[in-house]
């Protein structure tokens, strides 16, 4: 699959002992003969463990852990937008531009982010700190406009608040 990118580190991805324990917990959620159901949660886990994205090696490793043909794992990983198939910044800034956010001036939030980060949509900063993405409705529409940075939502945004949030990131 052309979308897949190889890791450049040369180090084969392996789960830590703690991550392996979490894999065990994931497996228990599904009937024993339905192990493939674990592929999405294990991909989510792999993405967290391996620096925020999934290289082809990481996908192969997930296939091995879950016990699925690699091709099936590629299919899943390419279908869902949350699996990043190329490296992303330490902070993945995702701004919603769908209807409720747009009505509440998400255009201004987009402009504020683009000028503050000096990035267009889909770009990452040279220093690896930021990736900026445009996303569809994130289900926080009554608190529009909003954005997500990694696991957290930031809602009721104004351009000033956006700057403040970006400044306060460690």
């Amino acid at each position: 699959m052309s979308e897949l990118q190889k890791s450049s580190s040369g180090v084969p991805p392996r789960f830590s002992e703690e991550a392996m324990r979490q894999v065990g917990v994931i497996f228990q959620r599904y009937p024993a003969e339905r192990r493939e159901s674990a592929v999405m949660p294990v991909l989510h886990l792999a993405q967290r463990e391996f620096g925020g994205w999934l290289s082809q090696e990481a996908l192969d490793y997930v296939a091995e852990v879950v016990g699925m043909p690699p091709m099936r794992v590629y299919e899943v990983a390419t279908f869902y937008t949350m699996y990043n198939l190329k490296p992303v910044g330490k902070y993945h800034v995702q701004v919603c531009t769908n209807i409720s956010c747009w009505l509440c001036a998400s255009d201004e939030i987009v402009r504020a982010l683009q000028s503050r980060l000096q990035l267009s949509f889909g770009e990452s900063s040279q220093d690896g700190r930021f990736t900026l993405s445009e996303v569809e409705c994130l289900g926080a529409c009554v608190n529009a406009p909003m954005m997500q940075i990694n696991d957290d939502y930031h809602e009721n945004l104004t351009p000033a608040k956006v700057s403040e949030i970006i400044d306060q990131l460690p």
């Binding site: 279908f79 409705c137 926080a140 696991d151």
Partner: protein, 420 residues
């Protein structure tokens, strides 16, 4: 006004078991376990509650379709909340997760499902954490597991996070996804009630539907059906977003006039009622209402359908007079094009066309005949696809042309917007 799913969300630490129990939590489950599964289903039928995820199918009837054979059965909670404008389930999950869990154990017991899943959209990471913490508490307290409340009933429950695909909110796309595949919807029939998750009989309900169950069991179906209006009983959360002074999630009885919802609950339309242009009443896929309709329409399934739209997920999106309707719909068309899973050609091609034509009209490059073209593309999608995403893409376009045709014409003729 009576509240059900949101009645405890303002309590401090409402998400904890201790607080939930202090307001009567899990008493409905205790009562349910003394009843038969069929009694529970009858009670839910009597309540008249219709599914709160979009299609409005009567929940009790859906449960009664589960065959009484010896295959393993499943209960799935649809927490994908992906329809633009919709954000009501999130507050249930983060503030009263135990009420959802209690509803699920009761539903699982009623249909003899021993396993349940909550399929939550992947971006709701914090909400998934909340749910997991509540599930852990419920296991420790014996409300989940292989001997629920010591009554020998088994119910296991797990959270499953999605991966950012709107189509996985469609029930069979969701099932595929839960099975570890691409979330491509299945042809129906067979319906999930017969062949669902892992091939077993499966009930799928929305978060808000399941969270209403404890009160129905505790107070009775008749009590519930007295709320709201005929054929639209009970309460509903409306997520009011866009151009109102107090956007928010408001739980009210079905049948409330839209004008009252906007003026008395949501703080009024920005700039006053006369500044209203229109309202999308039930999520992005529902056809837009003009202000004239908003003056009188009431928020119940039948009244909204009669006025030409859908109650859908209850996402009320308010547009004031500054809004270019062409631009608004073009944004939605882009969304549906992006989210089409590509399985059926009327949807894959049609959503592409709709988006492209809307885009060019918006950019002032529309040509005469584009309106008819949009309508014909829309009608070529509707009713001709595997899942309702195709319809969801077509309806807002056709609806906006019906309601605001002169704006589309102006845009095409003058190459720019009528309002700005």
């Amino acid at each position: 006004m009576t509240k059900i799913v949101y009645k405890h969300i303002h309590l401090e630490n409402s998400h904890t078991l201790a607080v939930y129990k202090s307001v009567g939590g899990y008493q409905a489950l205790e009562k349910a376990l003394t009843l038969s599964g069929d009694d529970i289903i009858d009670e839910v039928k009597r309540s008249g509650i219709r599914g709160r995820g979009g299609a409005g199918f009567p929940a009790g009837l859906k449960w009664s379709f589960i065959p009484k054979d010896d295959r393993a059965k499943y209960l799935v909670c649809n927490a994908d909340e992906g329809e633009p404008g919709t954000c009501k389930d999130r507050d249930i999950m983060r503030y009263v997760p135990h009420q959802l869990i209690e509803g699920m154990v009761i539903a699982g017991y009623a249909v003899r499902a021993e396993r349940g899943y909550i399929y939550i959209r992947g971006e709701f990471y914090r909400e998934a954490e909340r749910l997991q913490a509540a599930i852990d508490e419920a296991y420790a307290a014996g409300y989940l597991g292989n001997n629920v409340m010591g009554r020998g009933v088994r119910f296991d429950l797990a959270v499953h996070r999605g991966g950012g695909a709107y189509v996985c909110g469609e029930e069979t796309g969701l099932i595929e996804s839960l099975e570890g595949k691409k979330g491509q919807p299945r042809l129906k029939p067979p319906f999930p009630a017969n062949i669902g998750l892992y091939g077993g009989p499966t009930v799928i309900n929305n978060v808000e539907t399941l969270t209403s169950v404890p009160d129905i069991i505790l107070n009775g179906g008749a009590w519930y059906s007295a709320l709201g209006v005929e054929k639209s009983s009970g309460t509903k959360v409306f997520a009011v977003s866009g151009h109102v002074n107090k956007p928010g999630n408001y739980e009210v009885e079905l049948g409330i006039p839209l004008k009252v919802l906007l003026e008395e609950y949501a703080g009024g339309v920005r700039g006053g009622w006369d500044n209203l242009k229109g309202v999308i009443p039930g999520g992005a896929s529902s056809p837009v209402f003009t202000k004239a309709v908003c003056e009188t329409v009431t928020m119940d399934y039948d009244a909204i359908a009669k006025a030409g739209s859908m109650l859908g997920s209850g996402a009320v999106i308010v547009l004031d007079r500054s809004v270019c309707i062409v631009r608004a719909i073009a944004r939605l068309s882009r969304f549906y094009r992006h989210e089409s899973c590509g399985q059926c050609s009327p949807c894959r091609e049609g959503t592409g066309w709709l988006s492209q034509i809307m885009q060019r009209i918006e950019q002032g490059k529309g040509v005469r005949g584009d309106i008819d073209l949009l309508l014909s593309v829309a009608s070529n999608i509707q009713g001709k696809t595997i899942c309702a995403l195709g319809d969801a893409a077509a309806m807002p376009v056709a609806g906006a042309i019906r309601a605001f045709r002169e704006e589309f014409e102006y845009h095409i003729e003058h190459g720019r917007c009528m309002v700005a």
